[in-house]
């Protein structure tokens, strides 16, 4: 059945409206036959940024509540800042600790805990990214109280039983082993390790490698937990069919007397800068017999709080952030090299990378590199057309309110903005900034933030077939990376 497949694509469904699009839709002023021209569109619905009730419990826990009464559902997102950035020498410990939170808590073992949640019709997920550990719960409002009891156990009383730690460690090591099968995972690992030198927190995978994961035991998990999951740093976002007073009372009852012991985790000062190549360099990873080469091209990116954020997003949308972007139109549609080419700036607490990428047919690996570089240079060298600009701006701006459609989207947006200490009003401010972006802005940020002559290029593919033609391009020095070392 197509069900799962459709969900995967539709899951990013966004849309809703902000402001009327101007020239980009080519509305017909005259009115010829209905078929001849696309219809003129009416004005778009305005963006509504939800009202957020904010307060702090006595122990420091920050609470944000948005009432959204249409459905009898409540979504909670509890975040603890830090995440994998706090890993230090124990690469993967944040992700592992997050994963262990629901593997037994309070008096319940893992299977009991998760079956009770399912019995309540609730779903609970735990995870970590670079900047935070997150526990999220979605529950029908009638099951809220018992589900919150379970959530409180997961947050305050995780068991971290040695047997479960060992089991999850074995599973994680198996997953690391399987990365060797996945060219995209290999490209990511290679990219991180070349762009972020040893000593930088992003050098290793957020999930760790086999050496660091093998060293994880219950005491390491307990220690990390105590330092990273603390009420004074916790941010709880509640969205759904619930009044702020009730949300506060329910959380006060379960988390109000929570006090952490010992010292909190503090992110070490980062003294290592990301590496922008002096001259473009090509890193090759061999996947014998591969039908495609996975290409990633990039360099250190931008701070989320940069004043250039809005023009950067518009620039990237037309470069590689939408279906009709230049990269996708060229490499997929015009040349037929790939199923999809795209680009993105990745924002983390410390600047993440810019990456342009595609999986391309093996025998056009060199030609694909040529086209990538052509596009990365063209958007710096010539101003973009007004038509392209208007399309990209409209797409960014009009898709924005759709990201506030569901309870989890609202909760997720509030929690994510909090990572950067941005208020929810940022959404409307951002829309206004997008509207002001000009072709000159696009060219300026392209010149400032795209560095095709100082790129790290990763190619994961069948090197016997692709290496000679890549060398012939003379993009820069060629370095062959060892697969075993990458996936150790």
């Amino acid at each position: 059945m197509s069900r799962a497949h459709l969900a995967r694509h539709a899951a990013t469904a966004v849309g809703a409206t902000l402001f009327a699009v101007a020239s980009a839709t080519s509305p017909a002023p005259a009115q010829p036959a209905v078929r001849e021209r696309p219809p003129a569109l009416g004005s778009a619905a305005p963006l509504t940024v939800p009202a957020v009730h904010r307060e702090r419990l006595a122990n420091g826990l920050a609470l944000s509540v948005v009432e959204q009464r249409e459905l009898p559902l409540v979504q909670l997102v509890v975040s603890f800042p830090g995440g994998a950035r706090l890993d230090a020498a124990n690469a993967g410990i944040a992700a592992f600790t997050a994963n262990m939170l629901d593997e037994g808590a309070g008096t319940r073992d893992a299977a009991t805990l998760q079956s009770e949640l399912a019995f309540l019709g609730a779903s609970l997920q735990t995870g970590a990214d670079w900047d935070r550990i997150t526990v999220s719960l979605k529950v029908p409002v009638r099951s809220l109280a018992p589900a919150l009891d379970l959530l409180a156990d997961v947050i305050r009383r995780p068991t971290f039983a040695s047997a479960e730690v060992k089991r999850q460690r074995d599973l994680r090591l198996t997953a690391i082993l399987q990365q060797r099968d996945q060219p995209n995972a290999l490209a990511d690992i290679a990219f991180n390790s070349t762009l972020f030198p040893t000593g930088h927190p992003y050098h290793r995978n957020a999930g760790g490698d086999s050496a660091t994961v093998a060293a994880i035991d219950s005491s390491a998990v307990r220690n990390f937990y105590a330092r990273a999951l603390r009420p004074e740093h916790a941010q709880v976002v509640v969205v759904g069919d619930i009044a702020a007073e009730r949300a506060r009372a329910e959380l006060q009852r379960r988390l109000g007397d929570w006090r952490a012991a010992g010292a909190p985790a503090v992110a070490a000062a980062v003294t290592t800068a990301p590496r922008r190549e002096v001259r473009t360099r090509v890193y090759l990873v061999d996947k014998p017999g591969a039908a495609q080469s996975v290409i990633s091209i990039g360099w250190p990116g931008v701070d989320r709080l940069s004043p250039d954020y809005a023009p950067l997003m518009v620039m990237n949308t037309l470069l590689g952030g939408s279906f009709s972007s230049r990269l996708n139109s060229n490499l997929r549609e015009a040349k037929g090299y790939t199923y999809g080419a795209s680009s993105r700036f990745t924002f983390r607490k410390l600047p993440g990378p810019f990456i342009a990428s595609a999986a391309v047919r093996t025998n056009v690996t060199d030609s694909s590199l040529v086209e990538f570089f052509k596009e990365l240079r063209a958007i710096r060298d010539q101003p973009v057309s007004n038509d392209e600009l208007q399309r990209a701006k409209a797409y960014v701006e009009l898709a924005l309110p759709g990201s506030l459609e569901s309870t989890s989207q609202v909760a997720g947006a509030i929690a994510q903005l909090a990572v950067f200490d941005l208020p929810l009003a940022e959404l409307s401010t951002y829309a206004a900034k997008v509207r002001r972006v000009t072709t000159a802005d696009v060219q300026r940020v392209a010149r400032q933030y795209l560095h095709p002559d100082q790129a790290s290029v990763i190619v994961v593919g069948d090197l016997n077939s692709v290496r000679p033609s890549i060398e012939a391009l003379k993009l820069g020095e060629i370095v062959v990376l060892d697969l075993a070392a990458l996936t150790r």
Partner: protein, 469 residues
């Protein structure tokens, strides 16, 4: 299967990182509540109209958010292809975005993006779906584009377009099959499960040879036969006024001529027999696929098989997950799937062995759990968990108007009633322990198709014939 394009990282990545939660908006309808006890009846109000040319229109108003979704099903899938031209329905799905008389390539994508809207399409064995979603003011544009390609695609179709999308689809196949660990199973399972000439006996994405063989003439013939209003159903759902949608659809689609009546051949009979297949792949760990013939969608036993799928692998305490992954530590993961289609269905259990474990051992452990479930049935507590969890999943799936539009089309296709939500939920909630025992006994025992994918040169890790059943 086989969507036309990968989802490109959208620009709304206001801040980076991963949102760890799935996005929940449950059904916008009266009484989509809770999990236990009696819930009010679930209703999704719709109107159904048929134009004189045979086009069916289903409209559902949902004013909770200012968005709209269109969802067009053409009742043609890979099951309607001819041997030697497999993959054609999906290739054609791509061609539908290549421009039409009044919206020349690449206007389809560009116009929608300019309105803040997105689009995509998917193909499976039975149908091809096209959908757009976005701000409500984009609806006239969505319908105008759909009408133009339904009525005026052929005048602009040429070999260059067919060739271009042929390459894209071959790349899609490389990405999803050739360059994907365990991707070769895609080519193995359908022909192993269904007799030659059965419509489900080839993969939806087709073979490289057949994709190469597709011609412009094939394209034209296919379009004339299947892409006609009488073989299509349009759903419009969202923040719209029903009357104006109906008027707009009449205005745009009424003059598209009806197509020929479609005669569909009777599928070849399925005679299940034990089949054991071993394939080598460049993978680290062996993986086992056990497949049985089950039932078509909405067959009387379909719901019990859905519940069985949950009981086997839907939660941490599910039978297979608990036994094979956690207690015995034989598999890295295990996953059961009930795949019910129009003409037939199959049920598959997939398990990836842990390092050092052979697939016979994994298979025997799975068989023991199946026998246990068939003999003892689920406990009351397990069954109630399954009902509650499936109800929540059911409601959560429908939180986006886009997903609801697709569901309306699916219900209409399989039951003739677009608003079959409560009926679907009721049949799931009505499954008993005896039903589960019965369907496990009836469908999940021999004969079956056993596929082992093993690391190159490690055939000794494969599952052999037989098993503990």
């Amino acid at each position: 299967m086989s969507a036309r394009r990968p989802v490109i990282a959208l620009v709304i990545a206001l801040v980076a990182g991963v949102i760890a939660t799935p996005a929940p908006r449950a059904l916008h309808a009266q009484g989509a509540q809770g999990v236990q006890g009696a819930s009010p009846r679930l209703r999704v109000p719709v109107t159904v109209d048929t134009l004189p040319n045979g086009l069916t229109l289903i409209v559902h108003e949902d004013h909770s958010v200012p968005t709209v979704a269109t969802n067009v099903w053409f009742h043609v899938g890979s099951g309607d292809e001819k041997p030697g031209r497999t993959g054609f329905a999906h290739l054609f799905e791509h061609l539908m975005f290549m421009g039409s008389e009044h919206a020349q390539y690449p206007q389809f994508d560009r116009l929608l993006e300019s309105a803040g809207a997105s689009n995509n399409g998917t193909t499976n064995n039975d149908r091809t779906a096209y959908y757009e979603w976005g701000p409500r003011h984009a609806l006239p544009l969505m319908l105008w584009l759909e009408a133009d390609r339904m009525g005026w695609l052929l005048p602009t179709m040429d070999s260059a377009k067919v060739d271009a999308q042929r390459e894209v689809v071959k790349n899609e196949r490389r990405q999803g099959v050739e360059n994907q660990p365990y991707g070769i199973v895609e080519d193995i399972s359908a022909p192993a499960m269904y007799p030659k000439d059965h419509p489900y006996s080839w993969p939806v994405i087709g073979s490289m040879a057949d994709l190469s063989a597709a011609s412009l003439e094939d394209t034209k013939e296919f379009f004339r036969k299947y892409y006609a209003p009488n073989n299509a159903v349009i759903v419009v759902a969202g923040d719209v006024k029903g009357d104006s949608v109906r008027a707009l659809v009449r205005q745009l689609f009424a003059d598209i001529p009806r197509g020929p009546a479609i005669a569909r051949p009777t599928p070849a009979p399925i005679v299940p027999r034990d089949t054991v297949i071993v394939a080598e792949d460049r993978v680290q760990l062996p993986r086992l696929y056990l497949s049985w013939h089950a039932v078509p969608r909405f067959h009387a036993d379909d719901a019990a098989l859905e519940v069985t799928q949950y009981l086997l692998s839907g939660a941490r305490n599910a039978r297979l997950t608990s036994a094979v992954v956690y207690e015995q530590e034989l598999a890295r993961d295990v996953y059961a799937q009930n795949d019910a289609k129009k003409l037939a269905g199959d049920f598959t259990v997939v398990a990836t062995a842990r390092p050092g474990k052979a697939l016979n051992v994994v298979r025997d452990a799975i068989d023991r759990e199946l026998v246990r479930l068939a003999t003892d049935g689920p406990t009351d507590r397990e069954l109630q968990q399954a009902r509650n969890a499936l109800e929540s999943q059911f409601l959560n799936r429908l939180e986006f108007v886009n997903a609801k539009a697709e569901q309306l089309n699916e219900y209409y296709y399989f039951t003739g009633t677009p608003d079959a939500f409560q009926r679907d939920l009721d049949r799931m909630q009505g499954v008993t322990a005896a039903d589960v025992k019965r369907v496990v006994n009836q469908y999940l025992r021999a004969p079956r198709v056993t596929v082992s994918v093993v690391p190159t040169g490690k055939k000794e890790l494969a599952a052999t014939a037989g098993g503990a059943q």
